[in-house]
Amino acid sequence: MARLSVQRFRNLRQAELTVGAGPVVLLGENGAGKTNLLEALSFLTPGRGLRRARLGDLESRLPGNEGAGQGGWAVAARVETPWGAHDLGTGRDITTAPGQERRVIKVDGEFASSQAALGAVLAAVWVTPEMDGLFREGASERRRFLDRLVYAFDPAHAGRLSAYERALRERARLLREGRGEPEWLGALERTMAEKAVAIAAARRDMVGRLAGACAETSGAFPRAELGLAGDAETWLDELPALAVEERLQTRLLESRGRDSETGGAVVGAHRCDLLVHHGLHGRPAGLCSTGEQKALLLAIVLAHARLTGLERGGMPLLLLDEVAAHLDARRRDALYEEILAMGLQAWLTGTDAAPFAALNGAAQRFRVQDGMFIE
């Protein structure tokens, strides 16, 4: 990331930042706009950003902006990759009606038809205070976390996921309304099964390689042991992909009655879970202390960055919201050391300057106040 410009995005009316290759520290009070900037950055990758927001909610509601009615929010950046520099841009599609929200994607000045075009250039992984419960709560957050790690390796993963989810929603709609001839439902189930197997294969591949990278964790961070639960994800252990596809289709066919009542589907890619254990004492991550959980999460994220750098070349952006202040000094130093050693562009936020003292000289700092950035 070399240059970033944000417009009408939450409390950031207009921000322009020029940054170097190393870490970036954003300092400011709560509500100043630090997390909003990280969120804006996260929209330069596929998905709904770091807060999973609705696109309409991102629009600035600042005095002087309402009623202007021109253009929605927009984020643009120049990104340096090992394969050259690219210009990325995204924003709310102002031609669509409210409620039918869509964002437009531009890569190197050309409109792109899918968000995967962003993923081909840039990957980002984040750790935010909202993820504190990642290992304790339901599987869906962990699944999203895993899928985001996959994007960095396989940008097409985002497209497969949204295709799968659309087919899942279409099937649910047909079942709920009780219409839809069996062949139509069958066609949707076949689409779901095809996508689910491709999704499962990508997740398995990621977890396999990431488990290897985590095994090399040493020093201040605990070693995370990774596993994968799910339908297609585990069936692929014993069956070839085509057989798994058929099994998924059969199960979906058999469960139409039940699924019409629940509105979901009893099998599929939406039921996978990332399993994490502490490598030292073997306890499930969800039962570890809060500090251990945070350290495990960072260990996974750092292992993923190492792996990405090694195998794909370009490094993902690392967005660490309010992370540094909650680490003890030993882990904080280890985190900074890894970030600097890998040449990661990490964006770190905090209210106090003190926890970032060890990065003095190596990191670029901005003070954030009322949506303005002062270097």
């Binding site: 995967a116 929603r169 219409r179 001839e181 139509w184 066609a187 076949r190 689409t191």
Partner: protein, 197 residues
Amino acid sequence: MAPSEIDRLIQQLARLPGLGPRSARRTALYLLQRREQSLLPLAEALSRAAERIRPCHVCGNLDDSDPCRICRDRERDLSALCVVEEVGDLWALERSGAFKGHYHVLGGCLSALDGRGPEQLNLDSLWQRARDPAVKEIVLALSATVDGQTTAHYLAERLAGLPVQVTRLGQGVPVGGDLDYLDDGTLLAAFSARRPA
């Protein structure tokens, strides 16, 4: 107050795809200032099109004759039928020269979320045409979107019992891509790499 004729023209132009209010005003002005070279020939072409161009009752193509000239062309291969979503896809395939048989335009693809089911598509005549003993192969040239692929699965299932080979375009069509946006080389490659659906 009733809108003036100029406002009416601008409003009509602004409804066209790709034209906003600004470019509609520009286009209106352009036409009005070139009455002989542009405005009258365009008006004439529009009124002739409105009068004469109709969907072909056989394949769904748009033409000034029914059946359309592709359906009437005796040089074309009667044994191959290519199913597309929109007339725009048919035009794209014709431009590329990738296909020499006959077409069938569905008028969209299945989409439960958009409220488009089999009864909204041009399917009854497809079932009929598929039973024509002259037809040996049906190529499903549908877009690589979720709905396009689901529609292809649906057609493959419904056509499975008939003595025709059902194929779909090969690799090379990008996910989410509409045929209309593909270059001729990609279309040719996708056609020659078609595989059983």
